[in-house]
Amino acid sequence: MAETRKFVCIACPRGCPLEVDAEPDGKGGFAALAVRGNACRRGEDYGRAEIVDPRRSLTSTLRTEGAAERRLPVRTTGGVPLGRLVEAARALDGLVARPPLKCGDVIVNNLLGLGVDLVATDDLSAAAAADQGRKPAWNN
């Protein structure tokens, strides 16, 4: 039996209200039949993907060593399956970023075998000698 799911498109800040007809695909999942309410093509793609295999990009920060900053912001290059987002976030806990790094540099290839890379979203430069110890050393 097809059912209609209503949710907001998150592919851009406009946030169009979508209606997607979904049908069981016979393999325990769902197939998307039609998408309505989208103002653009990306919304259609998003609406379908949300039924078949919802994914979200993961953004976070990593601990640094020997750097001018205590944290390095990072993101995945594509979507992580929604159900594995927390697991992917935990996988970053033990990582340490060391300078120099450029915005866009790959930190982890194929994170957890999910087919996406983890990249730096800012530059990371080495701590200036004079700056060492100027900032309090926070734990973690």
């Binding site: 209200p17 993101r75 927390v86 976030a89």
Partner: protein, 450 residues
């Protein structure tokens, strides 16, 4: 004698607005200096590590620092001067010095002199023909929110929580309650959850959420975090550290409904109750503020009623998209460069036609259209209520007799919500020279779709 440095344009603030302004002014041939009080450029974007920035500008979903980095690289590439960790003590206007007065044109508005201090140079002065205020916004704090009880550790604003987690790498606690459904609070609900904190729920006094729909979905629904509308925190418990809060339902007027109080155990209360433009310096220059935006009144290039003072970004009104912040910075930077290049020659400013936003608007920016600036003028507005069934927007020039003289723009919206800022363009040439006002109208469509 306090050492003095001369520039064409000084930009206050090195966030996305200030960077875009500096870049545009430099590209227009100005000698620019950016003054930033923090130790790095990028403004608040440094701590906004989530993505969703840059869709309008770059067609990509960038993280905040990544978006800022694009502009920092451009600014550094042009060798625009930057003065970091620099505090502006005061700003004043100074008439052209006696030595230069002979050469100065009549009506020369003079210079701005900024008294600044930093570690390397001590106290110094900056002199500039034009000033761009790009100082961003600040968060409302719990002092502006009425809650009973003590102020134990564990009560913090969403922006501070964001700074602690994303810049310092510290978690504020184990179990959080979030008061207010502003975007930063929603973003932090997700961020704290992903970092291993439990977010018990988000409580919103109003009957409608104040953040973007997409953030309700991807920050709350994705993680099963409940949103309680028409509910607020009435009391904070705990002596040294937050132990719990009492929440209660409220009526339409925001009055607590007796008997609905409920105690929620938590060690952290995050306040996400709104942002207001930072305009200490604007006020010290005597700029008049718009009570609706809480920022200075400006024309379409961001020039305030004080000649030579330009305002952009969140210092002007609180934006939800960094892309529009950059756009307003560019307009201000270009115009500031043009102003400085006149070097005191009599104002080329045209007549300022007031923009009057009618009922249905929360606010509209700019507050004036300068007839003397040809080309397109970008207007931003927010509706003051959710119009689910759609609305018709119109911009009309009003003649000296008070009657509509020209229609500048008509547009239909499928839906309007106060958290979502809208952007439209009008052609300034269509505004008659003798126009008394530009009037903005919003007509809601009842029961109609599309």
């Amino acid at each position: 004698m306090i050492p003095r440095e001369r520039r064409d344009v000084v930009v206050l603030g090195g966030g996305p607005a200030g960077l875009a302004a500096a870049l545009a002014a430099s590209e227009s041939g100005s000698d620019v200096l950016v003054v930033e009080r923090e130790e790095r450029l990028g403004g608040i974007l440094k701590q906004c590590v989530h993505d969703g920035f840059g869709l309008v500008r770059f067609g990509e979903q960038l993280a905040g620092p990544e978006y800022a980095r694009r502009y920092i690289d451009l600014v550094e590439g042009r060798r625009v001067a930057v003065s970091l960790e620099t505090f502006v003590h005061s700003v004043r206007r100074e008439a052209p010095a006696a030595a230069r007065r002979a050469a100065a044109a009549d009506g020369d508005p003079g210079f701005f002199v900024l008294t600044c201090v930093n570690r390397d140079r001590g106290v110094f002065e900056l002199e500039a023909r034009a000033l761009v205020l790009a100082t961003g916004c600040r968060e409302r704090t719990d002092r502006q929110v009425f809650i009973h009880g003590d102020r134990p550790a564990g009560v913090l604003t969403a922006g501070l929580a964001q700074h602690l987690v994303n810049i310092e790498g510290l978690l504020p606690g184990r179990r959080a309650v979030i008061l207010g459904s502003g975007d930063i609070g929603l973003i932090m609900a997700r961020r704290l959850t992903l970092e291993g904190m439990e977010v018990e729920g988000v409580y919103e006094l109003k009957s409608e959420p104040s953040g973007l729909s997409r953030n309700l979905r991807q920050c709350l629904e994705d993680f099963g975090i409940p949103l309680h509308l028409s509910t607020t925190v009435v009391e904070v418990h705990g002596k040294r550290r937050v132990e719990a809060v009492t929440v209660a339902a409220v009526d339409q007027r925001g009055q607590v409904l007796p008997g609905t109080e409920r105690r929620v155990a938590c060690d952290t209360l995050v306040l996400s109750v709104g942002l207001i433009p930072e305009n200490e310096i604007a006020e010290s220059l005597g700029l008049s503020l718009d009570p609706a935006t809480k920022g200075p009144r400006v024309d379409q290039a961001g020039e305030s009623q004080a000649e030579g003072v330009f305002v952009c970004g969140n210092a002007l009104h609180v934006n939800d998209l960094a892309d529009y912040v950059s756009e307003s910075g560019e307009a201000a930077g270009r115009a500031a460069a043009a102003f400085a290049a006149r070097n005191g020659a009599p104002a080329a400013r045209g007549r300022l036609v007031p923009v009057k936003a009618g009922p249905g608007f929360l606010y509209a920016v700019p507050q004036f259209v300068d007839r003397g600036r040809p080309g397109k003028a970008v207007l931003y507005f927010r509706s003051n209520a959710t119009l689910r069934e759609g609305a018709r927007f119109a911009a009309r020039a009003i003649g000296p007799d008070g009657a509509p003289a020209a229609t500048l723009l008509e547009k239909r919206y499928a839906a309007l919500r106060p958290p979502e800022m809208e952007r439209v363009e009008i052609d300034v040439a269509l505004v008659p020279v003798d126009a008394a006002a530009v009037s903005l109208e919003l007509e809601r469509k009842e029961g109609l779709r599309g």
